[in-house]
């Protein structure tokens, strides 16, 4: 795989469930070695996207490439792709040691010694039954299963949800250490945008089954500015959000290239603020279009 080849590339991926559209026209390209944050509200299609990339769900539309190949039938295209499900499914009646044995049985490449050492270092009792482990320990075990496969691409669905801050911190540390060592490409979905800001260098933002924003985090931040100025004047660029306090307005704008804004003070924006602005923007847009739909249908009825 050459350096400029994408680790993950999707082209118009779509998935429909019986009633609702889970994903539509999903197109993005993720360069190798990056840690990509996948953000969006509940039900935006994050899990569906990850399950499609993990080979668990078959998309209705579109195609995708993993590590420079289009995965065919069977698992050969997913040999170096590891996936951590949202629910952390594990065999609950297995012991910790048996779980590692299962991981080795299902994978030709599995670093059993590393996984065992890591678990012992984390204070696991290898004879303990998985079902009796705490939620945090189950997540750690599931993550070590994934990391032990030495994947080139790691897909993590809400890895830190339902963890206390301490467990969260140790999990992130374990993840980052291993990923940095092996140059793994990671896609990690999360609600906690501030947390993603600590380690993500790439972003895919999904709302209501569609990709709204994607790209390198630094580039995205560079093209967004927080402007403060007089409320009555109109700011340059594309306004994403605005808040007025008295006669002063604070607006978030997007602009490619240099932003020239006389009468406005420009400040850099952080990831969380930008993401929240986008989420709010599309939530509002949807409310408006829903309201529009309602008036249209009311008019049709009368």
């Amino acid at each position: 795989m050459s350096d400029n080849q994408a680790a993950v590339a999707t082209y118009g991926l779509g998935k429909r469930y019986r009633r609702s559209r889970a994903l539509s026209e999903c197109t993005f390209s993720l360069p190798p070695g990056r840690i990509c944050g996948l953000v969006g509200p509940n039900g935006a299609g994050k899990s569906t996207l990850l399950r499609i990339l993990a080979g668990l769900t078959v998309p209705d539309a579109g195609s995708f490439e993993l590590l420079g190949e289009t995965p065919g039938p069977g698992r050969s295209g997913w040999r170096r792709v590891a996936y951590l499900d949202q629910d952390r499914p594990l065999y609950r009646r297995f012991s910790v040691a048996e779980t590692l044995r299962a991981a080795a049985a299902l994978n030709a490449t599995f670093d059993f010694g590393w996984a065992r050492r890591t678990l012992e270092d984390l204070g696991f009792d290898l004879h303990q039954t998985v079902g009796t482990l705490s939620g945090g320990q189950q997540t750690q075990l599931a993550l070590i299963w994934c990391l032990g496969r030495r994947p080139a691409l790691l897909l993590l669905d809400e890895p830190t949800s339902a963890l206390d801050p301490l467990a969260r911190e140790s999990l992130v540390r374990l993840l980052l250490a291993t990923v940095a060592e092996n140059g793994t490409t990671v896609i990690v979905s999360s609600h906690a945008v501030s947390e993603l800001g600590q380690f993500c260098d790439f972003l895919v933002l999904l709302t209501r089954s569609q990709v709204r924003l994607t790209g390198d985090v630094d580039e995205l931040l560079a093209s967004h500015r927080l402007l403060v100025g007089a409320a009555e004047s109109s700011p340059p660029g594309t306004v994403l959000s605005s808040a007025t306090a008295g006669r002063q307005a604070t607006v978030l704008v997007r602009s490619e290239g240099e932003l020239f804004a006389p009468g406005w003070d420009a400040e850099p924006v952080d990831l969380e603020r930008m993401v929240v602005a986008y989420l709010r923007l599309y939530a509002c847009a949807e409310d408006e279009s829903a309201a529009l739909d309602a008036t249209t249908s009311a008019r049709v009825r009368s």
Partner: protein, 304 residues
């Protein structure tokens, strides 16, 4: 892979093998009691019912959770996102489960077959040679093939319904329907049956140990227009009245002769046991194979 398949399925397999062993022990114990008893003790209806139900229940109990439980618990999302393909995953499970439940059923079928041959109490539910359904269904390769059929049925239903308990509940009536259909519609005609005609009123010697069906009384001899004589069904009332009337011959045979009636029907002689067993088990093994193939297809195309 085999280790994992065994580890995941071992509780359902152990429970099933224990059930089969218990029935075996129960029958052996009953058999010893029988052996030492002087009166005409024999297997009860309960024993026979147990033997009839065993392949269905055990097959479904191992088959239904094979895919169904992993779908239910969500562990498929772990197992199917690894390097091993879904085909290999299913294959290893099938191999382990078949190897685990096949031999106990073969042993039990052999035990029951030997038993019914040794027993040979004339009025037993087991005739001793075993071509009538009571013997035929719980002996020989057919008995094993029923278990494998129920097992495959459980796998497919589990894969489709995603819940082992529903698969079990749906599997029992399906099993009974398929088994009855084959027994009632196919098995009598797997080899063209022989016809017996009796005008003496005694049971013909050829029918000893045979599987008799469609037996009925008929008016004997050709009718005026040469058409087949009408069927009268069970023992006709005219015969009963004849036997009851004073002054008439006292036996059914004599009355039947007097009234020009004959007893006729179809039968499969006992020496066709192995051929019928071969055909019957081939049918159920083919069904089992087809169900497994459908199960594999369902597994392959399941989006989870």
């Amino acid at each position: 892979m085999t280790w994992l398949a065994w580890r995941v399925q071992r509780s359902s397999i152990l429970a099933s093998v224990s059930a089969v062993s218990l029935v075996g022990v129960w029958l052996v114990a009953g058999g010893f009691a029988l052996h030492h008893s002087t009166n005409a003790a024999r297997w009860t209806e309960l024993d026979v019912a147990m033997l009839f139900a065993l392949p269905c229940f055990v097959g479904l109990a191992v088959g239904a959770p094979l895919v169904g439980e992993e779908l239910d618990r969500g562990t498929v999302r772990l197992a199917w996102s690894q390097e091993a393909s879904r085909g290999r995953w299913l294959g290893s499970k099938l191999l382990v489960a078949t190897a685990a439940i096949g031999p106990p059923f073969a042993l039990l079928a052999g035990l029951v077959g030997w038993w019914s041959r040794t027993l040979a109490v004339p009025d037993s539910l087991f005739t001793g040679v075993g071509i009538a359904p009571a013997d035929f269904d719980v002996t020989g390769p057919a008995f094993v093939s029923y278990a494998l059929f129920a097992f495959a049925l459980g796998i497919l239903l589990g894969a489709l319904l995603g819940r082992p308990i529903w698969a079990f509940v749906a599997g029992v009536p399906t099993y009974v329907a398929v088994r009855s259909a084959v027994q009632e519609l196919l098995r009598p005609r797997m080899i063209p049956p022989l016809r017996f005609v009796d005008r003496t009123g005694d049971v013909p010697a050829a029918l000893t140990h045979a599987w008799v069906f469609n037996a009925a009384w008929q008016a004997s001899g050709p009718t005026a227009r040469g058409a087949a004589p009408p069927t009268l069904g069970g023992l006709p009332e005219s015969v009963m009245r004849c036997v009851a009337q004073p002054g008439h011959p006292p036996t059914i045979a004599a009355c039947a002769r007097l009234l020009r009636l004959q007893y006729t029907g179809l039968y499969q002689p006992p020496d066709r046991y192995w051929v019928l067993q071969g055909i019957e088990s081939a049918i159920f093994l083919a069904l089992a194979f087809a169900l497994c193939a459908l199960g594999a297809l369902a597994v392959r195309h399941h989006s989870v």
